[in-house]
């Protein structure tokens, strides 16, 4: 079968940022900035084209890397879901970078700013590879590249707190990678394959004979727990608040909305394409994820409620929202997975906007992130205030915004399962929504209250800049569009999932 030109896009989306990352390391910061933004625009446009092709009904395909055919060579696989995810990731990466550009010069040593773009490009390449790869060991290698790049994103801000946060982030993530690596090594030992579809065939045979059911359970447990640690599901979230709360706004946005989502996407891919939902259900690991997610949804929100710092509050809210995604996955049905994927998108779009907006609001309040100083910040930085409000409403689940549709989908998926589970989900969903409303609306009200008596705020030196405002407006538009045209995205996800395995 002859390949058409557009079918090389996944490969280009990986190679272009990867090559540019190497080239950027020797460029001057100003040129590196333009180069990075251009590359991200190109990757976004290419992802748009490939999404459009699949939307028009193109079939999914595998792309051979090198000259060795299936059981030996390395492969890329692209389909509706991969293309859509790549589009979201690239777009959010671009907007997060644009929104935080001004702060980079302030937070990073002037000699080192150029290196930030290297890290951003590496992260983009690793995310794209994670989305498209069809080889489990390649997935592991790019997983480690993501971890290293994420660590650099945190540590690049020269402050004691970020350095410690980066170290703690690395320690937890290395444990996660270790478990994941052991999982795939045992899986390779059981099946003798590295390509995902071949593993699936072998796993089916193993599961049918009933042999090796214990090692298979161990494999699923190791992979799932490894990726849970890396994506900060509830009991493993201890590194989150410092890592998200103290790094530069772009880093927080990228970490919370892309890095953790990359790991979750890999886990969904493994559940569908490598192990298979039926085998996962037999190992009962889904139930473990389900319970962690339920507890996380409540505990994350309670922790968020106790914060006095807007960035840390948003970070803890991420823990709760990751719980929502794992809840959908833990249900183990197609509807649950669809809800999880939709929430993955809506949370990614929303949380990056919240982090950027929180950065802008803090800037307008004398560089303080404390609630008592943020009073009236919505008037001092109007666009950031509106963006934060839209994000907060979306997280709470206000109709016409992305967050509402995800909650609806999760509830519908839970009702389909029936029994005690659906009751539990609905109950926890209600409690969590109530807690979300408490802390998010409290913040929004604070933003539009009169400042404390005698408080004075230094007039900002220069405007926040066109980039910041444009990025926030685009983010807000994306949130509203995700709510209004949710059915289109839902259809795309359903169709993507049906050809995902």
């Amino acid at each position: 079968m002859a390949l058409e030109l557009w079918q090389s896009i996944p490969f280009a989306c990986i190679l272009l940022p990867l090559g540019s990352a190497a080239a950027t390391s020797v460029m001057k910061p100003r040129i590196a900035r333009w180069w990075t933004v251009t590359v991200l625009v190109v990757v976004t446009a290419l992802s748009g084209i490939i999404t459009w092709q699949f939307w028009q009904g193109a079939a999914h395909y595998t792309y051979m890397m090198g000259h060795f055919p299936a059981p030996w060579g390395n492969e890329i696989r692209a389909g509706q879901l991969e293309a859509l995810t790549a589009l979201f990731f690239a777009l959010i990466m671009l907007l997060s970078l644009l929104g935080g550009l001004k702060k980079l010069d302030e937070h990073i040593d002037p000699n080192k700013v150029g290196l930030y773009y290297v890290v951003i490009l590496l992260m983009t390449a690793a995310l794209m590879a994670q989305v498209y790869t069809n080889d489990i060991f390649t997935a592991y290698v790019f997983l480690e590249i993501m971890t290293l790049a994420a660590c650099a994103l945190i540590a690049i801000r020269r402050r004691g707190r970020t350095l410690v946060a980066a170290t703690r982030y690395m320690i937890m993530n290395l444990i996660g990678s270790g478990l994941f690596l052991l999982g795939i090594v045992i899986l390779y030992d059981l099946t003798g394959h590295l390509l995902m579809e071949d593993i699936r065939t072998a796993v089916k045979e193993i599961a049918a004979t009933g042999q090796y059911s214990q090692p298979l359970t161990v494999v699923v447990a190791l992979i799932a727990i490894g990726l849970c640690i890396k994506s900060a599901l509830f009991p493993f979230h201890t590194w989150v608040p410092d890592a998200y709360g103290f790094s530069t706004p772009t880093s927080s946005a990228v970490l919370s909305s892309l890095v953790s989502k990359g790991y979750i996407f890999l886990l969904i891919k493994i559940m569908y394409r490598v192990i298979g939902l039926d085998v996962i259900a037999a190992t009962r690991i889904g139930d473990v994820l389900f319970v962690f997610a339920l507890v996380g949804m409540v505990m994350g929100s309670i922790s968020a409620l106790r914060q006095t710092d807007v960035r840390r509050m948003t970070a803890f809210s991420s823990v709760a929202q990751i719980g929502y995604i794992y809840l959908g996955m833990g249900l183990g049905t197609d509807a649950g997975m669809m809800a999880a994927m939709f929430h993955l998108f809506s949370h990614a779009v929303c949380k990056s906007m919240l982090f950027l907006a929180a950065g802008g609001l803090a800037d307008a309040s004398g560089n303080s992130k404390q609630f008592r100083d943020l009073r009236g910040a919505g008037y001092r930085s109007p666009i950031a205030g509106v963006a934060f409000t839209i994000g907060a409403l979306s997280m709470v689940g206000f109709p016409f915004l992305g967050g509402f549709v995800s909650k609806l989908n999760i509830a519908l998926a839970a009702l389909e399962v029936g029994g005690v589970r659906s009751l539990l989900v609905l109950l926890v969903l209600a409690v969590s929504t109530w807690l979300n409303t408490m802390y998010f609306l409290r913040t929004v009200i604070t933003l539009y209250r009169k400042p404390l008596e005698g408080a004075s705020y230094p007039v900002e030196k220069g405007r926040r800049g066109f980039c910041f405002n444009a990025a926030l407006v685009l983010f807000a538009l994306q949130n509203v569009m995700l709510g209004l045209w949710s059915q289109t995205v839902v259809n795309a996800i359903v169709e993507g999932l049906s050809t995902f395995g």
Partner: protein, 123 residues
């Protein structure tokens, strides 16, 4: 059951446990990094042991022997090499972070460092 025959795998799992607990529980940064190295190398040992088949040699064609039965599985060796590269770069990054932490706080104890950086922030 097969503990005695699979002693390499057994050793690998014991080493993995040692490395894992050291990485997770030890307070000294250098010892944490040593733990990480032990953990990763244990996985590589496991992988290499899985690729070896008793009585066969490395897949290098000598004297025209082409039969599959003569050779061990070379893929795990390739994976181990890739894994070692990843592991080395992670170790380097962790060590450089430790150097920066030590220059700033003059200790290697992660708990003390965390306490010190919180105090620094409260000031």
């Amino acid at each position: 059951m097969h503990f005695l025959t699979n002693y390499v795998e057994m050793a690998a799992m014991v080493l993995f446990g040692i490395g894992f607990t050291t990485l997770l529980l030890h307070r000294n940064m250098i010892k944490k990094i040593i733990g990480f190295s032990i953990m990763d190398n244990a996985i590589f040992l496991f992988l290499a042991a899985k690729g070896y088949v008793e009585g066969r040699t490395a897949p290098i064609v000598v004297d025209g022997v082409q039969s599959v039965e003569a050779y061990i599985n070379p893929i795990p060796a390739g994976l181990v090499l890739t894994g070692i590269v990843v592991s080395v770069s992670v170790t380097a990054l962790m060590l450089s972070l430790t150097v920066r932490l030590y220059r700033r706080y003059h200790t290697l104890d992660i708990d003390e460092i965390t306490a010190m950086c919180r105090q620094e922030d409260d000031k």
